[in-house]
């Protein structure tokens, strides 16, 4: 069974795509200990069963709000086979911010370029092939309201699950000075087998430099804690 997570900004048609994929049958509950709805559904495509988890709609993955923390922890800790990032094609600039964060998390991302019709009505011409090349992930244009692109999306999910994680490539270059620092901290993190098994090392290094509290919490138990934190000075 393939484990798929759906993520995206608020109001991108995430729930509609969830319903399209699962046929509207979902198990609804709460995330443990949180009053945030957790929806899980199933779907069988070409004989392969998929479990689809709907993550809260978020603008970023900074772990500052409970929604963001849930979404981020699910991706980091549960490591779903595929993360479908639903992007509002009529508002690319805002939406791609989350996409970049997912790529830094080294998730196995498939982008659904939803509201494709609205983008067209607005006169936007999106070069899907080039965008896919720049981001290094498959992209499927979709119109959730008319279910267009759903079969293609499911195919893309299957393909991504089969191919597994792509080779990571640096999406954002933070500049010479910051990159040197990131590299040094990452080097230290790599020497802790437990940390480097659980978390993408570059991602963790960047979050630590940002002073991200959740990330600082994660390295607290590491035997190399002092050396890692020392590197931040």
């Amino acid at each position: 069974m393939i484990r798929v997570a759906l993520i995206g900004n608020p109001n991108v048609g995430k729930s509609l795509i969830f319903n399209n994929l699962t046929g509207g049958r979902a198990h609804v509950g709460n995330w443990p200990g949180k009053t945030v709805e957790r929806k899980v559904g199933r779907c069988v495509h070409r004989g392969v069963e998929m479990e689809i988890v709907d993550l809260p709609g978020v603008y970023s993955l900074t772990a500052r709000s409970i929604d963001e923390l849930i979404a981020r922890n699910f991706i980091v800790e549960e490591k779903p086979d595929v993360v479908v990032d639903i992007v509002d094609a009529s508002n690319l600039e805002r939406n791609l911010y989350l996409t970049i964060q997912l790529l830094e998390l080294e998730a196995n991302v498939v982008v659904a370029l939803n509201k494709w019709d609205i983008a067209g009505d607005l006169g936007y011409e999106i070069d899907v092939k080039e965008l896919s090349r720049l981001l290094g992930v498959p992209i499927v244009p979709t119109i959730a309201t008319t279910q267009e692109g759903m079969e293609e999306l499911k195919d893309a999910i299957l393909r991504a699950a089969r191919e597994g994680k792509r080779a990571r490539h640096t999406i954002v270059d933070y500049g010479r000075k910051a990159e040197a620092l990131i590299g040094r901290i990452e080097e230290t993190i790599r020497r802790d087998p437990e940390l480097s098994r659980r978390y993408p090392t570059r991602w963790l290094a960047i979050r630590l430099l940002e002073g991200d509290e959740d990330a600082l919490e994660k390295v607290k138990t590491s035997p190399l804690k002092d050396e890692i934190l020392g590197g931040l000075e």
Partner: protein
């Protein structure tokens, strides 16, 4: 003239020139799209939370938070006092340096 976003009248369009907040809030506002050089439009004003349109989304901001976002009249030209020369979200070098100095 710079005024806090909370003071903008309804329907008024303006450009963000600066965000005068601590690191955490600055970061949060930046994630929501409130970055230097970005255009905003106030949909609902008054005392208490305001509703603003930014980057194609509507956001409700607490009045105190909206006071920390400084804006200037949008005249369709460059940004007065901003470090970006033109409209857009690119993080200009000056902005990035400022951010990192704060650390």
């Amino acid at each position: 003239m710079l005024i806090p976003m909370a003071m903008l009248p309804e329907g008024k369009e303006a450009v963000i020139v600066d965000v005068k907040a601590g690191r955490g809030l600055t970061r949060r506002l930046y994630e929501l799209g409130f970055v230097r050089g970005e255009r905003v439009r106030v949909l609902r004003a008054g005392f208490g939370p305001i509703l603003v349109e930014v980057k194609g989304s509507r956001m409700a901001l607490g009045w105190g938070v909206a006071m920390k976002v400084l804006v200037a009249d949008y005249d369709g030209e460059g940004i007065p006092g901003g470090c970006g020369g033109s409209r857009g979200v690119r993080l200009d070098k000056g902005c990035v340096d400022r951010e990192s100095k704060r650390r």
